[in-house]
């Protein structure tokens, strides 16, 4: 099981700003270990953000994204107290989903 994400969601005017910090190695598959063997690719492929269960952002990530990545989103039509759910699936089928409440 992957490590938890850190999610911050807050209203700035009428826009909800969501910032997500994910814990993931994001291996490109291009690096070699000390024995000269290629380190297998391991990266987040798809990510979704849902507001009260309704998907508002869905996207794809690629190996060029850094290790332990940070993503930021701006969502209209949210209000304080709404439930934000962020989830990702990586190329090995590993997944993680975490929740936060809009402040």
């Amino acid at each position: 099981m992957a490590d938890p994400m850190k999610i911050r969601a807050a209203m700035k005017g009428d826009v909800c700003e969501i910032r997500v910090l994910m814990s993931h190695p994001m291996e490109t598959g291009m690096r070699k270990d000390s024995d000269g063997k290629a380190v297998p690719a391991h990266f987040i492929q798809t990510l979704t953000v849902a507001l009260n269960g309704k998907a508002v952002v869905s996207g794809q990530a690629a190996p060029s994204v850094s290790r332990n990545p940070v993503f930021g989103f701006k969502v209209k039509g949210a209000k304080a107290g709404d439930k934000v759910t962020v989830s990702w699936v990586d190329n090995k089928g590993d997944k993680r989903s975490d929740e936060a409440t809009v402040a």
């Binding site: 910090l21 814990s23 190695p25 290790r67 930021g72």
Partner: protein, 283 residues
């Protein structure tokens, strides 16, 4: 043929003028350089401010919290119920900034990382050899101690450094640290102070802090433990000191040695009174 005196004077004057010109040129070049440095520093400051908002160090704080609270080791106790990092067992609020300090139970002055390692061996029963085998992060590997240090450091955010220099034991170690910064050795025959003992020094494009000033020492201790974006690893001030020795081509000190504590004591005490911002982020 002999030169007549007036000709000599003229040549002399020209030479002086030339030197003055070169001087003026170099003075303006230095001023320009300083301006460039200030600009670059300002850019990095902006970048850091942006990144501090979502510092991946927080992920390591989370891991550290788990490790701190879990019953572990051969003795099956948690650090939360056994480890005193300066304010009493399990008390963390503001503990990071009052270290390094003297611990009577260990009869040593210790910095936070050294103290946590001591707690893990003495209270939880881990073997020092196992902890010291791979003490610093690399690739996807982060030592447990690193996460623990980050967790403890996170409880001193925006608090002022207050290492207890009035304690004679701490003073002694501080003086040793000061001595070490002046110790010239190694194949290149230089000391910490060669690069970090006066203002305006740099290595490649990076400005180097002058550790003999409070502001310089603050730069030395402030951002640690820090998340380094190059490589995406979490590193502690113990690692920083170790790497300084490596860069100096000195033999690297043993993990959590007296030497490193002395250097950290020297810098932290110099930075006393300045605010610690918590686990940092590095480029």
């Amino acid at each position: 043929m002999e030169r007549s005196p007036p000709q000599q004077t003229l040549a002399g004057r020209l030479a002086i003028l030339g030197t003055l010109g070169a001087l003026a040129f170099s003075v303006s070049a230095v001023a320009q350089q300083e301006l460039d440095h200030a600009k670059a520093d300002a850019e990095f400051a902006k970048f850091r401010a942006e990144m501090e908002d979502s510092n991946p160090a927080e992920l390591f704080e989370l891991k550290g919290e788990e490790l701190w609270k879990a019953k572990r080791g051969p003795k099956n106790v948690s650090l939360a119920e056994s480890c005193d990092v300066g304010l009493g067992v399990g008390k963390l609020e503001g503990a990071y900034v009052i270290n390094p300090r003297y611990y009577p139970d260990a009869d040593k002055v210790m910095d936070v990382e050294r103290r946590i390692v001591w707690c893990m061996t003495e209270k939880q029963g881990f073997k020092f050899g196992d902890i010291a085998k791979k003490p610093f992060a690399s690739g996807n590997y982060t030592p447990e101690v690193t996460s623990l240090v980050t967790f403890v450091a996170g409880h001193s955010r925006n608090m002022k450094f207050a290492a207890p220099i009035k304690d004679p034991k701490v003073r002694e170690v501080y003086e040793i640290g000061k001595e070490i910064t002046a110790y010239r050795a190694g194949p290149y025959d230089f000391s910490c102070n060669t690069c970090h003992g006066s203002d305006g020094k740099r290595i490649r494009m990076q400005n180097l802090p002058n550790l003999s000033t409070p502001e310089g020492s603050l730069k030395g201790v402030m951002g640690w433990p820090g998340y380094r974006m190059t490589g995406g690893v979490m590193l502690t001030s113990q690692w920083r000191m170790n790497d300084c020795f490596r860069q100096q081509r000195f033999p690297e000190p043993k993990y959590v040695s007296d030497t490193v504590t002395a250097l950290l004591t020297y810098m932290t005490v110099n930075a006393n009174g300045y605010t610690y911002k918590g686990p940092g982020i590095k480029r």
